[in-house]
Symmetry: C2
Subunit: 202 residues, 2 copies
DNA sequence: AACATGATCTTGACACTGTCAAGATTTGGA
DNA sequence: TCCAAATCTTGACAGTGTCAAGATCATGTT
């Protein structure tokens, strides 16, 4: 890792990293191309050698976020290999935790900050893979009799939407008042999942 | 409605209206204070006589959006006075339609564009009222045996989150691929609601 | 080994943004 | 009538994304 070369060596990744850091410290409004460049130690126009515009940097950061979410979902699922119901519950909880621990990255991924996602293949791919990971757990739950036997993709959307909506409303401050005083967010998530799941001996 | 006075007369509302129009035509990125001022026919700094900063204008626009959502929810519910199950279904559908017909207003209301919502009493009030409207339908459903008899606020969060999550993912382009080819958005919403509702003779 | 080419980075500029400061105009009440 | 407050304008500033042009470096071909 040389120190002061004219060519940075790995500027592209350095910019993504700087972007993630700014995002977590200053939020979305603090994320500017120029600040990212400065933090990476290059001039304000250096990023344009690696990203055609700001949207592309945001796409790269979002993609990185999806990779992390994908991994954490995988860990939560792998922790309960023989218990699909628990996989669904802890997978959902991992999703919620990711959203709470990486609020602004989560918002960039899901709150319309990134336009024309379809133009970024890496983003599309990892987001599809993540969805399929949800579908897999749903299928496992169906086989275990924990979820009804409709088309798993539809059920996956219903379940994913459920969790996504609750945590989104929470992050937006829309839930706090009447409810969060008595029930914390984990209870609400598990309760919501139970509403969808079939009565079972577990 | 005088034409060319130094004092506009009702600039505050004119600015809100201009903001809504720009929002629907150019999206969030096109919404600037200066453009709003120009569309209202005043100088670029006139808005500061009515709003301390851009956030306040956004809060006003969001509040207006909530009022509209509140009204449309009310209409959908009132259309089926004796059928709570249908009220829930059509209320949810009204919510989804509002989101699809006013995409960017919806995003401003719910996607973290507005910070520190608690500082805007009118916004807090109408958003609470909207939530209570959901709670009312949930209670009616409970009385009709269509929903389980947990605390209605918790159930309301679960149901609201469900619908909110599905339409949010949809607006973000996250649902289209595998699912939306076969099922349209209304089917998915109704299916998701059915998952939550108890089996009933209806 | 010299060199040309393309990748990478810098400097400079532009229009646009939100916001502050200071001044002009109008309105309403004393 | 006249003053004070509300309303609106003009001017300025730093920060933004992006374009254009030039500087520097790395690399492969001869």
């Amino acid at each position: 890792m040389p120190s002061k070369k004219y060519h940075h060596g790995d500027l592209k990744n350095a910019l993504i990293k700087a972007g993630v850091e700014i995002l977590s410290k200053e939020g979305i409004d603090g994320l500017s191309l120029r600040k990212v460049a400065q933090r990476a130690g290059v001039s304000h126009n250096a990023p344009y050698s690696h990203f055609p515009d700001k949207q592309s940097l945001i796409a790269a950061i979002s993609t990185e976020g999806f990779k992390q979410l994908y991994d954490e979902l995988g860990l939560a699922i792998a922790a309960f290999p023989r218990d699909p119901k628990r996989q669904l519950q802890e997978g959902a909880w991992a999703y919620v935790q990711f959203a709470m621990n990486n609020t602004d990255t989560f918002k960039i991924m899901f709150s319309g900050v990134l336009k024309k996602e379809k133009e970024y293949p890496a983003f599309v791919e990892i987001s599809h893979k993540t969805f399929e990971r949800v579908v897999d757990v749903v299928k496992a739950c169906q086989n275990a009799g924990v979820l009804s036997s409709t088309r798993p993709e539809i059920l996956a959307v219903a379940v994913w939407g459920q969790i996504h909506g609750i945590i989104s409303l929470r992050l937006e401050g829309q839930i706090s008042h009447t409810v969060l005083d008595d029930f914390d967010i984990r209870e609400i998530v598990l309760f919501a999942l139970n509403q969808v799941m079939l009565a079972s001996p577990g």
